[in-house]
Amino acid sequence: MVNFDPNLRWGAQAPAAFGGPGALPHVASPTAPASGTGTAKPDFLSAIEAAGKYVSKVDDLQQASDASIQDLLTGKNNDITAVVSAVAKADVSFKVLVGVRNKLIEAYKQTMNMPL
């Protein structure tokens, strides 16, 4: 299971899906390990891993946007355009991430609700 870094700075408490209390339990691979090819990964797992890599990119963008806001506040850089573009980029990527998270939660719920 991908390790979401609990030290990431979010605006509020980290949602449960991201390493906070009540993290997602380990998802078993849908294909039996003995029969599947060694290199091909199941799509669900690889989607979660891709989301994990994306999280650190979003955090970088957030830090860059916070730094640019700080520069604007201290008068180091008076270019409003640069600040706005950094903040907009971070915001869009954050929204994408939240959308992915919501979809993952939905998919998980659907999986858990499947009758055995």
């Binding site: 408490q13 506040l73 008068g75 409003i80 706005v84």
Partner: protein, 120 residues
């Protein structure tokens, strides 16, 4: 340089500083013709930068803007040093910055809301 910086608090302090600056600009414009009146300015950005670099980032949100009288400005014959175009320029810059800070603050709060909302 991962500093645990409270961006929301800093933005609020910045908005307070711009409000103070707005008052001083209004006072300058009102006293455009008053003999002996010297224009007032607000010092905030340097204080904030100093507080942030001093290693005590927590105190940075408490930085208050200071009103002061800049020295060495060219005086008119009646001892007044207020220049209309300069005050208008300051007013424009002040309103840009305040609008930017308010929007950024709103954006931050909207991000928090997005994070805690799980669409059912």
């Amino acid at each position: 340089m991962p500093q645990p910086v409270d961006i929301v608090g800093l933005l609020e302090a910045g908005i307070r500083a711009e409000e103070t600056r707005q008052r001083t600009i209004a006072s300058n414009i009102a006293n455009l013709e008053t003999p002996g009146y010297r224009r007032l300015d607000v010092r905030f950005e340097e204080l904030l930068a100093k507080a942030l670099h001093s290693g005590q980032a927590a105190g940075a949100t408490q930085v208050e803007p200071e009103i002061f009288q800049p020295a060495g400005t060219p005086l008119k014959s009646n001892g007044n040093d207020v220049n209309m175009e300069m005050e208008i320029g300051e007013m424009l810059k002040n309103s840009f910055r305040q609008a930017a800070f308010v929007r950024l603050l709103r954006k931050k709060f909207a991000q928090i809301e997005t994070a805690i909302t799980i669409r059912e």
